[in-house]
C-alpha cells in the first residue's frame, strides 16, 4: 500500500500543530465558536448529540494492520473503546474530548493517517472497490489512480471552498462495487481504441434529498489526462454550481439543470483550456510508475486452486461451509480467496467494532493477509489475500471472537447510518431498526433462502445510510416528534443503478419490522426459480407489495 512521502508527512504534521494551536485559542476564548467551527470541520471534528465526533480518513478504504491497531489504541485511550466504520470507508469516534483531539491527530499522523477533508465543502475521501487489485473481474487496479486523486485533491486551494461537499469514487472491475453512479464524479476503468486502458467518467450522481444517477460525460479518457479532466469538472462546478441554496448546491443539480450534454461541453471547453495553458496537470509517467510500485502484486505463492484441508473442513463443518460460500470471493491468483469480515452479527450495530476486536483483526491480517485490510462502503472489513489453505484457521479465529457472521449481501448485512442515537442531523433512529430486522431474520437457512437482499437504512433525508439504493430502503421521518419509517423498493448501486420507489405511506416504529417481513414474504411468494429480490421486484413492480403491505398494516 501507499506510504507517505516527505510532503505528506510535512503536511499532516504541520496540520496537527496548527489544530493544536486552534484548539488552544478556542479554549482560551480567542476564537469564537463561529470562528472555530470551520477550522474543526476541516479537521473532521463535528459536534453531535452527546459529544464531539471525529471522522478519520481511510484513503480508498485501505488500512494496514499497524494503522488498525492505532485506531484501536485511540478508541481505548481517548474514546469509549470502540469505533464505527462508515459508508464512506472511513472511521468515526463518537466521544472524543475537544482538548484531546490534537493528541489523537498526532497519534494518527504517527501511522500516516489524518482527518483532513472528512468534512466541509471540499473533495472528500476518494472511495473505491474493496476488492481493488485482487478481484478476478478487474480490468486494472484503480488504487494507484485513487492515490493520485488523493494527492491532487488534498488541500487543493481552488477546491477547498466548493458550493458543497464533493465525492469521487473509482472502480476498476466489471462489477461496480464502488457505487460510482451515485457519486459527484464516478470513474470506471474502461478500454478504448487499441485496447488502451483509461477511464469512463460519470458526473452528477448522488443521494440525499434529491437522488440522481450519474450521467456519462466522457466515454474514454486517457489515463494521463485524469487530473486535467477532474480539474475541468471541478472548475465548471465551482463556477456554475449554486451557492444560494444548500439543497441545490451539489453538482447533480447543476447537471440536471443544464443537462449532461451541456455539462460535457462545458467540461470539454475547460479541459481544452487547461491543456492549452500548460502540461502541469498531465500525470507524468514517472510519477505514475512510482505510485504503481506501492500497489504492485503481493509476493504470492504458487498454489493450486484446490486446498484439501479446506475442502475437508468444508465437508465436516456446516458453519464453516456457509461462511466460505457467503463471505469469500474469487481472487485473481490461484490458491487465494478474498475474505469479508462482517461487522453485523445478529442484533449487532452495523459498522461498530470494539478496540479488542480491532486488535484481533489486525493480528489476523498479519497472520493471514499480508498485514492489510480494507474498509467497505457496506461497513464491513475485507482481507484481500488469504491463502485458500488458511481459510479454516482464519474462520476459527474469527468465530472465536464472534466475527464470523456468514451474511455478506444477505438480509442481515444491512447498511445503517448512526441515526438519532448519535447524529445531530437525524430525524429518527436507524440502528435499532437494523437490529430488529437482523433478529427477525436470524435463521441462517432463511437468510440463504431469501438470497441477496440489501436493506439500507437512513435516519434522515441526507441518506448517509444509502436508503435510495437499498433493494429495500428505509428512511426515517419525523412526524411531530414521533419516528416513522418510509419504505422504498428496487434501489441498487451496482452496474444497473436504480433509485428505490416509495411503496406508500410511512410505517410507525412498531410497524416497520413487520412491514419488512411482509415485503420479504411477498417476494418469496412471487419469485420464480433463480430470482433474487431485485429480479422479482423489477419483474412485478410495486403493486403486489403495496397490496400485501397496506392490506395487513391497516393504513
Amino acid at each position: 500500500m501507499y506510504r507517505y512521502d516527505e510532503f505528506d508527512h510535512k503536511i499532516v504534521t504541520e496540520r496537527v500543530e496548527q489544530f493544536r494551536g486552534q484548539v488552544a485559542r478556542r479554549l482560551s476564548g480567542e476564537l469564537s465558536e463561529d470562528e472555530f467551527k470551520p477550522l474543526r470541520l476541516m479537521n473532521g471534528l463535528y459536534l453531535q448529540l452527546h459529544a464531539y465526533m471525529l471522522r478519520v480518513a481511510v484513503p480508498y478504504g485501505t488500512l494496514s494492520s499497524k494503522q488498525l491497531r492505532q485506531l484501536a489504541h485511540i478508541a481505548r485511550k481517548y474514546d469509549k473503546g470502540y469505533a464505527h466504520f462508515t459508508t464512506r470507508q472511513n472511521v468515526q469516534y463518537n466521544w472524543p474530548r475537544l482538548a484531546d483531539v490534537p493528541d489523537i491527530l498526532k497519534d494518527l499522523a504517527d501511522v500516516e493517517m489524518h482527518a483532513l477533508q472528512t468534512s466541509g465543502n471540499c473533495i472528500r475521501n476518494i472511495t473505491t472497490d474493496p476488492y481493488a487489485g485482487v478481484s478476478a473481474d478487474e480490468l486494472e487496479d484503480p488504487r494507484p489512480w485513487a492515490e493520485i486523486l488523493r494527492q491532487w485533491s488534498s488541500l487543493h486551494p481552488e477546491f477547498s471552498f466548493l458550493p458543497r461537499k464533493f465525492k469521487i469514487a473509482i472502480n476498476g472491475a466489471k462489477e461496480d462495487r464502488a457505487a460510482i453512479l451515485f457519486h459527484d464524479i464516478g470513474i470506471g476503468m474502461a478500454r478504448g481504441d487499441n485496447d488502451e486502458v483509461g477511464f469512463r467518467v460519470y458526473v452528477g450522481g448522488g443521494q440525499g434529498r434529491t437522488p440522481m444517477i450519474a450521467e456519462c460525460i466522457r466515454e474514454f479518457l486517457p489515463k494521463a489526462d485524469l487530473l486535467a479532466y477532474m480539474e475541468a469538472i471541478l472548475r465548471v462546478y465551482n463556477r456554475f454550481g449554486r451557492r444560494d441554496n444548500l439543497y441545490k448546491s451539489r453538482i447533480k443539480i447543476l447537471v440536471h439543470q443544464i443537462g449532461a450534454e451541456d455539462m460535457a461541453k462545458q467540461v470539454e471547453v475547460e479541459f481544452a483550456a487547461i491543456q492549452k495553458q500548460s502540461d502541469s496537470l498531465k500525470v507524468p509517467q514517472k510519477e505514475v510508475d512510482r505510485i504503481l510500485a506501492y500497489f504492485a502484486p503481493k509476493n504470492y505463492e504458487s498454489l493450486g486452486e484446490f486446498a484439501p484441508e479446506t475442502e475437508e473442513a468444508r465437508l465436516a463443518d456446516e458453519a464453516f461451509a456457509r461462511w466460505l460460500d457467503v463471505n469469500t470471493a474469487d481472487h485473481k491468483v490461484p490458491g487465494y480467496r478474498i475474505v469479508n469480515i462482517s461487522t453485523k452479527p445478529i442484533g449487532g450495530i452495523p459498522g461498530d467494532m470494539s478496540a479488542d476486536d480491532m486488535d484481533a483483526v489486525a493480528d489476523l491480517a498479519d497472520k493471514f493477509s499480508f498485514s492489510e485490510l480494507r474498509v467497505t462502503h457496506k461497513q464491513n472489513l475485507t482481507f484481500t489475500d488469504v491463502r485458500r489453505k488458511d481459510l479454516h484457521a482464519l474462520w476459527k479465529a474469527l468465530d472465536e471472537r464472534g466475527l464470523a457472521s456468514a451474511n455478506i449481501s444477505l438480509i442481515t448485512d444491512q447498511i445503517a447510518c448512526p441515526g438519532l442515537d448519535y447524529c445531530n442531523l437525524a430525524n429518527t433512529r436507524s440502528i435499532p431498526i437494523a437490529q430488529e430486522i437482523s433478529q427477525r431474520f436470524e435463521d441462517a437457512d432463511l437468510q440463504r433462502r431469501i438470497g441477496r437482499l440489501h436493506i439500507n437504512i437512513s435516519g434522515c433525508i441526507n441518506a448517509c445510510g444509502h436508503h435510495h439504493v437499498g433493494h429495500i430502503g428505509i428512511l426515517g421521518v419525523d412526524k411531530k416528534g414521533v419516528e416513522y419509517y418510509q419504505v422504498g423498493l428496487g434501489g441498487s448501486s451496482d452496474n444497473n443503478g436504480s433509485i428505490g420507489k416509495i411503496v406508500g405511506p410511512a410505517f410507525a416504529r412498531n410497524e416497520i419490522v413487520d412491514a419488512i417481513g411482509t415485503i420479504v414474504d411477498t417476494y418469496l411468494d412471487q419469485r420464480v426459480d433463480g430470482e433474487e429480490f431485485l429480479d422479482t421486484y423489477r419483474r412485478i413492480g410495486l403493486q403486489p407489495f403495496k397490496e400485501t403491505l397496506y392490506d395487513t398494516a391497516q393504513h
Partner: protein
C-alpha cells in the same frame, strides 16, 4: 437540526453542549449548568422561556457551553421529561448502547 423546537410549546427548558467535551448540559434555576436533566430549570410559557435562554447566553462567552437552545418538556407527577425522542436520547445516551452516556452513569435518568 432535526426535531426542532416546537414553536407552540409552553413548558420549556434550556440545554446546550459543554465546550470542553461536548457533554449534554442543562441550565439550572441557580444559573449554572448541570449534566442532569433533573436539575434543569423548567418554565411554563414562551416569554419565560426566552428570558431563561437569555440568562443562559453569557455562558457561551464564558466558554462553558456551545449552542444553547430551548426544548419542550412535559410535566409528570414527580418531575418533568423531554417531549421529543431526540431530547430523550440526549438526556440518556444512545438507545442501542445502554452502557454509554448519562444512562450508564446515572441509572435514575
Amino acid at each position: 437540526m432535526a426535531q426542532h423546537h416546537n414553536q407552540t410549546a409552553q413548558t420549556l427548558a434550556v440545554t446546550a453542549n459543554r465546550l470542553l467535551d461536548g457533554e449534554v448540559v442543562y441550565f439550572t434555576a441557580g444559573g449554572s449548568w448541570s449534566e442532569h436533566f433533573g436539575d434543569a430549570a423548567v418554565v411554563h410559557n414562551k416569554d419565560d422561556g426566552e428570558a431563561l435562554l437569555q440568562k443562559a447566553m453569557p455562558s457561551v462567552e464564558a466558554l462553558e457551553i456551545i449552542g444553547p437552545y430551548l426544548f419542550e418538556v412535559r410535566e409528570l407527577g414527580d418531575g418533568a421529561a423531554p417531549v421529543s425522542v431526540r431530547e430523550n436520547i440526549r438526556m440518556k445516551g444512545p438507545t442501542v448502547r445502554l452502557d454509554l452516556g448519562k444512562q450508564a452513569e446515572r441509572p435514575r435518568v
